[in-house]
Symmetry: C2
């Protein structure tokens, strides 16, 4: 298992009182990164670290000159309006800054008074995309999702023969990725009903979310070089929540033979906070294959990956309809799942992506693919939950849905929790559907 | 047809004598853009315009302050080490700079002496990627290629039912796109022979090129907005040659259900020069559909697109083997084709890409897809020329190829030529295959 250090000590408390409350997403053991500024201000965006219900303003901290060594260099990079430069610095600097912030925010720290002036309330800020994402790759790592969706798109042939050998992925669109709070117009698109003679253009009728984990690349690799499976941790900066909005009717008509295109590139939403790989170390877990499944090819196989390749991250998706919002009713949980169900690990995604020499760059982004669990109520999309739109999903206020309606918001939350370790939360990602253009 | 102006006058001559030679790719009617610096120097990269066998150094010209108005603003943007800022400025500025450079480089120009100091020989420079490419989309616009390749991958079902309705495209990888001169290692990858029980990892055995036209987006659109078919010219900066390297054996095993991934993202090569849409105006031509083909949906149909949506650009691909190179033999032409065979126009690609609200950004890049013509010897890939590897292609020096071997270089050339108009050439794109990693 990855080495745990003092920053993981579950007994550690912060002088920021809200960080010590039970159930808090951002205790001192987490320390995730975002890019923020005060709402409706003309401040420069800069890096911040979540602690309880506050944000430690890294540009303000940098100006105090209280941090030195590698951590100071890392801190200077975090003053930028994206984390790319910090991501590129690599594990040594990520870890140095984490150690320094953990000490500075601990109860009894001599820096408490100075750092207190660097805190901003999370309720007072706005976020932006934490990295300039060069390339975005979406994987397809849940075998439960692949099988359920495969049944709907290809009843005779749900799980293709390559699935258990190849960590299937495809390139996505970076330009339309935005941070939590994103609203977007229901996409227009070409679709063809099974009984229609010809396709037609109109607003998407089967708009769906996908419950995914997002992965940010830190240090990259040169074109032509591969990243070995057991070296991947040095290249992965951290993870977030990711909603990969999908237009199922557009997808069904367009996706053969070259894959999803307009069905997926109209909007994708990330949570503001990136939880680092180091913060997630206590929640790494074993990865295995069923005995009757093929075992991976050598470049996707190692003892380290078997021992600690998977991540125990609980995930949930909630729906808030316009009616719920207006009536002040709570959002309704559609499903819960866990990233540990993934058929392929993050390390396998990195090793596979680069085995052909493809170069990853700091700030590149992977989607894990929809993380459906083995049970029907653990499905990570409405396509699965409504059985391809055939079974409406009842909502507690009397409404129902097969797919999303205008005004609907999807909220995703995630976090790690277990006895003997501090909670490591992901916060949430919220985004909302607006009516189609011209509607 | 698009309006022609004085910059298109075929009688116009330049005081740069090499620009007036018959067959020159870069006469004064062309004026394409690149990013360059002197070879092996530590100069800043900056914009340049090709004229004959010279480059007009736009940073040097900017320093003279001899150009004013909109053109001066455009020129200032071209001092950057990518053309993104210039691309973002839009048609008014692109056109103003073209007019100013056309006048300044014309025979009799009062600026001859001053501009002569701003010329650099093309043989003395190195190029870099002319834009920071945010997102790269590859289309599939040759129905001849789609049908031939479809026959090989899906003998029962070569052309899918959506092909004649949807300008099929998919997202590609930006990070591995580089400029002419690129060398790259033969990709490693997972493949499965039809008779093998399980897949295995090894060097690609079916390495191929794809003869494409590349298209750079200039001014973008906001997320949620669409670009109407007849407005697309305002958003397209220009075109180049594009080699979309492909690993056919990796592709065959990985591409279902989400499309090509590692088969395409190990290297892609662009020509250094971007020929502007304005320079191509004399070579716009009619676009039509066979009467028994479905006519496009409304958002892909207009009189303007019918009248001048296509481009008459001649394309060719040549192979230079290591043996040819060492013996000083000329490269062998594998095939010739023409972009006017494309089943979909550039305007239709832009309108389709944005119909769902997807946002294009300055510097985004489209591949046209392999531009195979209707005849077998007009095929734009070895997969087609060798009939899926079954018929070796004989070479004049006694060698033969089904797919590419280590040391092989592919050279692509392109240009427009017709009576009553000046030649508008694209230059060339050359790239070469290195042995696989560890081989």
């Amino acid at each position: 298992m990855p080495k745990l250090n003092a920053t993981h000590n579950p007994e550690l408390q912060s002088w920021v009182a809200s960080a010590n409350l039970p159930g808090c997403d951002f205790p001192i053991q987490n320390l995730p990164f975002a890019i923020f500024r005060r709402q409706a201000s003309d401040e420069q965006y800069r890096g911040g670290v979540a602690i309880g219900d506050r944000i430690l303003d890294l540009a303000a901290l940098n100006a105090t000159h209280l941090i030195d060594g590698d951590a100071a260099q890392a801190l200077a990079a975090c003053c930028d309006d994206s984390l790319n430069q910090f991501m590129a610095m690599g594990q040594r600097y990520w870890s140095a800054l984490r150690q320094a912030l953990s000490q500075a925010l601990s109860q009894g720290s001599a820096l408490e008074r100075a750092l207190n002036d660097c805190l901003v309330a999370q309720t007072e800020v706005e976020y932006k995309l934490p990295a300039r994402i060069g390339d975005y790759t979406d994987f397809y790592t849940s075998i439960h999702h692949a099988t359920s969706v495969g049944k709907l798109f290809r009843p005779d042939n749900p799980l293709l023969p390559n699935y258990k050998w190849v960590p299937i992925g495809y390139h996505g669109r970076s330009s339309s990725i935005d941070v939590s709070g994103q609203t977007f117009r229901r996409p227009m698109g070409q679709t063809k009903a099974p009984d229609a003679a010809t396709p037609s253009l109109g607003p998407c009728k089967r708009l769906d979310y996908e419950l995914e984990v997002g992965i940010y690349i830190g240090a990259g690799n040169d074109l032509g070089d591969a990243i070995a499976l057991d070296d991947s941790d040095a290249h992965v900066f951290g993870m977030c929540l990711f909603n990969d909005w999908s237009a199922r009717d557009i997808q069904a008509w367009e996706y053969q033979p070259l894959g999803p295109f307009l069905a997926k590139n109209f909007a994708s939403t990330v949570s503001p906070w990136i939880v680092t790989l180091e913060a997630l170390a206590p929640y790494r877990t074993t990865w295995s294959r069923d005995a009757d499944d093929p075992q991976p090819l050598d470049y996707l196989e190692s003892a380290q990956n078997r021992q600690s390749g998977a991540f125990d991250i609980q995930l949930e998706a909630l729906l808030e309809t316009k009616q719920m919002r207006e009536a002040g009713q709570p959002a309704h949980r559609l499903s819960q799942s866990n990233f540990s169900h993934s058929y392929w690990t993050v390390a396998q995604m990195v090793a596979h992506h680069t085995v052909n020499g493809c170069n990853l760059q700091p700030g590149d982004f992977f989607g894990s693919g929809t993380q459906s669990g083995p049970e029907a109520d653990e499905a990570g999309s409405m396509l699965e939950l409504s059985n391809g739109g055939k079974q409406p999903i009842p909502l507690p206020n009397g409404e129902s849905r097969t797919f999303l309606e205008d005004g609907d918001a999807i909220i995703m939350r995630g976090g790690c929790e277990k006895p003997g370790a501090a909670r490591v939360g992901f916060g949430e990602v919220v985004s909302r559907v607006l009516p189609a253009r011209g509607q």
